[in-house]
């Protein structure tokens, strides 16, 4: 075999962390016999539970601290509660959560309007940056978007309008 190993000692720090005993089970094997007794450590104090916190059925309780970003609410919240009746080992946990996320997006838009602001989706998608660095791709994206909207409009339009549109297209 061709010897591709060269002298790399010029590379700053080469080999300084080399350890012939680098064991694949490190640091997992740094455990003590205590752990055989299970869920038995001295737990940190519990963060007061004054909101709805969903917890995995694969643990007996709510962790000592938890995040409070977005408690479950609305229809998406109902779907999430259903998901948390199933274990992390089940698609019935993960797929409903993904569905809830999509429902949540619509809820977010309704929420925005309720608060009297229309979401600026163009800005939220960062299109100004795309316009700056890659105009071509943005133009394509918009054209595809317009086509999709056009097709959707046609689907909802009446039979007559659809025919008219079709003939117009063929005439050209």
């Amino acid at each position: 075999m061709e010897d591709t190993t060269k002298d790399y000692s010029h590379i700053n720090g080469w080999g300084i962390d080399a350890d012939p005993k680098n064991d694949p089970t490190y640091p997992m094997k740094r455990r003590t016999n205590e752990e055989h007794s299970g869920y038995s450590w001295e737990r940190p104090p519990q963060q007061p539970i004054n909101m709805e916190v969903l917890h995995s059925i694969e643990r007996p309780n709510i962790s000592a601290v938890f995040g409070t970003a977005m408690p479950p609410s609305g229809l998406s919240g109902m779907i999430r509660r259903f998901a948390f009746k199933h274990s992390e080992n089940s698609y019935l946990h993960w797929l409903p959560l993904l569905l809830a996320d999509r429902v949540n997006v619509v809820e977010g838009i309704i929420e925005d309007f309720k608060e009297g602001k229309a979401p600026n989706i163009f800005a939220e998608k960062g299109y100004p940056a795309e316009w700056k660095y890659e105009k071509g791709s943005l133009v394509t994206k918009m054209a595809v978007g317009a086509a999709v909207v056009g097709v959707a409009v046609l689907m909802f339009a009446g039979e007559k309008k659809r025919k008219k549109w079709f003939y117009n297209l063929m005439e050209r």
Binding site: D17, A18, R43, V53, L54, G67, A69, M70, Y133
Partner: protein, 384 residues
């Protein structure tokens, strides 16, 4: 305060949100001075991580100044400038005692498989993240580490995730002197993993990606060979050929769920979400490693099932090692390396963006516009 606000797939904006509060005696409130967007944030941004709720603030890579501490916090004081590891860890549970700080059992109620992570969906605990002016930091005595005198804030922020994850990727590879290491993915983590492979004595380091500018960056920064898989018929054959048909001693998957390069994986993993992301890089790693070799995975995958060539793992006798980086365990060593100039992490930062322009920053990073490697967000209240 200002904070990034997730509104749905590929939609984020900056909004005013209530100030975070001390909710637990071991909490601290940190005023953010630098926060990064991470490749793994893109899985959230694209709506691929289950239980990513609208209204959440992302950001697990940040450094800042301690503004307020809870009654039980002893090691930190107001005014300390701190590196905050991306994982939230209690320091007391069975896993923290084994230094598995990425696997703490007292920081995430919502899942038992993943620990608590700042700004990383409710599946990772439902915490608001650091792409904001202020953030609540639980277990303030465990994770946060005072930034040493003289360390650049841009270097410090890279110690929250990029450097430890890249380093642990190499460490988990069990690299022995002279080994050939192949890193799949030339994002910040892949570049750092390649760099750190030398510290473990690698004899040859190869990086594989599809973006020319990232390959060029990897060649310069990590002093490695770098190749474009778009120009290969098959990456596994390429690796075999260049290792005299033996395979690499160590393969590192630094890509995770957003992998390109395989249509079937892209459709099932990224579009239909039927598996936990597209496992293309993992396939390549398993199929490119030498028999008896080690595959090290730090790429982030979702929690659902994956189509992985497990048969090849058995037949080849591969050891697979994988984890979220145990940032706190590694910090002392890595701070030394940064202070001694062995690793210069801030060189990876290509974009400095005001927090207010977070939507543009996400677009630039996710679409790889303007040769972006790593963007850092700077809140208006940073003052440094």
């Amino acid at each position: 305060m200002l904070a990034m606000n997730y509104r749905g797939p590929k939609r984020v904006r900056i909004d005013h949100k209530p100030m975070p509060e001390i909710l637990h005696p071991e909490d601290a409130i940190v005023r953010v001075v630098r926060s990064c967007i991470c490749g793994s944030d893109l899985h959230l941004y694209n709506g691929n991580v289950p239980d990513t709720r609208v209204g959440s603030t992302f950001g697990h890579e940040f450094v800042g100044v301690v503004e307020e501490i809870g009654p039980d916090v002893q090691k930190l004081k107001v005014g300390d400038k701190v590196i905050v590891p991306f994982n939230i860890a209690c320091g007391k549970c069975a896993f923290c005692k084994q230094e598995l700080y990425g696997n703490c059992h007292e920081a995430n109620s919502q899942a038992s498989a993943v620990g608590g992570i700042f700004g990383y969906s409710h599946t990772a605990g439902g915490y608001n993240g650091g792409q904001a002016e202020y953030v609540r930091v639980p277990y303030a005595d465990v994770g946060p580490t005072v930034i040493p005198e003289g360390m650049d804030l841009d270097d410090a922020v890279m110690l929250t995730d990029v450097v430890p994850t890249g380093y642990q990727a190499a460490e988990m590879g069990g690299i022995q002197k002279g080994d050939t290491v192949v890193v799949f993915g030339a994002g910040p983590i892949g570049i750092m993993a390649a760099k750190c492979s030398w510290l473990f004595g690698a004899g040859r380091v190869i990086v594989i990606d599809k973006e020319e500018y990232r390959l060029e960056f990897a060649r310069n920064y990590s002093q490695c060979e770098a190749y474009n898989f778009m120009e290969m018929d098959d990456p596994a054959v390429f690796v075999k050929k260049t290792t005299d048909w033996m395979g690499a001693d160590v393969c590192i998957d630094a890509v995770g769920a957003e992998a390109a390069g395989n249509v079937l994986q892209t459709i099932t993993g990224r579009k239909l979400l039927l598996q936990a992301g597209s496992a293309t890089a993992l396939h390549w790693a398993i199929n490119s490693v030498k028999k008896g070799g080690i595959v090290s995975i730090v790429g982030v995958y979702g929690p659902t099932d994956n189509l992985v060539p497990i048969g090849n793992v058995v037949n080849k006798g591969i050891t697979i090692r994988a984890n979220q980086a145990s940032v706190k365990r590694l910090l002392p060593r890595l701070i030394d390396h940064v202070m001694n100039g062995v690793i210069k992490p801030k060189q990876l930062i290509t974009h400095r963006v005001p927090l207010e322009e977070v939507a543009d920053a996400y677009r630039i990073f996710s679409d790889k516009l303007d040769n972006c490697i790593k963007p850092v967000l700077i809140p208006p209240s940073a003052n440094m």
